[in-house]
Symmetry: C2
Subunit: 222 residues, 2 copies
Amino acid sequence: MSSKGEQTRHEIVGRALALAEEVGLESVSLGVLAAGMNLSKSGLFAHFKSKEALQLDVLQEASERFAREVVAPALAQPRGEPRVRAMFENYLGWMDSRDRTKGCFFVALTHEYDDRPGPVRDLLVKYLGDWQQALAEAARIAVDERHFDGGVDATQFAFEVFGISMAFQQAMKLLSDRHAKKRARAAFEGLIVRSRGTSVRPRAKTRQRLKAGRGTTRTRED
Amino acid sequence: MSSKGEQTRHEIVGRALALAEEVGLESVSLGVLAAGMNLSKSGLFAHFKSKEALQLDVLQEASERFAREVVAPALAQPRGEPRVRAMFENYLGWMDSRDRTKGCFFVALTHEYDDRPGPVRDLLVKYLGDWQQALAEAARIAVDERHFDGGVDATQFAFEVFGISMAFQQAMKLLSDRHAKKRARAAFEGLIVRSRGTSVRPRAKTRQRLKAGRGTTRTRED
């Protein structure tokens, strides 16, 4: 495809993403998109054989932006807790960027696609899995660096960050809670402090650990 | 309205709720509903002057079921941590009841209505606020009962339970994580243990508390 063609295609995807952020990905209409761009519907179809093909590209575009704005800058941070913190803060920034009505595109799609099987759902699941793994990997490194306790379950850590993020988006967008970000950060701090390894781990587990001769790792810096 | 009329009306609402759980509340079609019930569309309109009136009743019906299945049985539990735990467990049960494709109706509506102003959104916000307050009130009582530490922020507690619940629903429905419930419970245990008051509270706060002569309350039973 010519460079001009690539450019038009990229522009279509960008506009479709903006539209999908407003109305959802299923409601993106090729007709509305074409009209907004002075393209005929068949001109638009020259770039995308189907609405689904466009949806997949929109999702990919969002994922690339996410990688650029959230993940990459966090990976540039020092290994361990600083990187984990950067991932969370960048994600809050991503959810709260542009304007207050947006939130995270992927979270919004969660409910649009959880009952709707197909390639779009599959790709969404893949991207959410990638993000979950990036968070878990950062937590695992924090364990290696002894910033987090050896007993931290990295996948559980990622699960809890997902929860905090979704509660943030709901509080910010739907419930208009002006303390939403403060609450999200407080929840995250609780998770971080707990992950550093402390006396709050369930007794049985502590006992197991002591029995195994591993003791309790404490690396809090304060 | 006659008792027969009331009964029909109630049946319409029940069917509309079941349909809305599948397709969302905006996509509930009066035509489809009427056809499924051997009613004419105008017969259905005799009960509901508008689609919005029906949507509000559907939301109210869901809220009444929620009060009956989640809140009321929890309120029958002893004050303090047992009641807090019952609220969470009942809520997990609510999300995981019927079949695995349902989840919590209110969570699903979060993204359907966060950008859609109007009476339906207002009522949804009210119901979510009621649930948040019920959770916060249960946490406040747990503080009174000295099951939770005096420094616990009950609203923050409720925020975090919302997060865990949403992560559970996403993991269960979208990500098909068969450990979803185990993860939700582990996250909740972390929150409970932290709320009991331990050494993991940020140092500055501990210092404040000690300075205020309140010490650290520990009421763990294990």
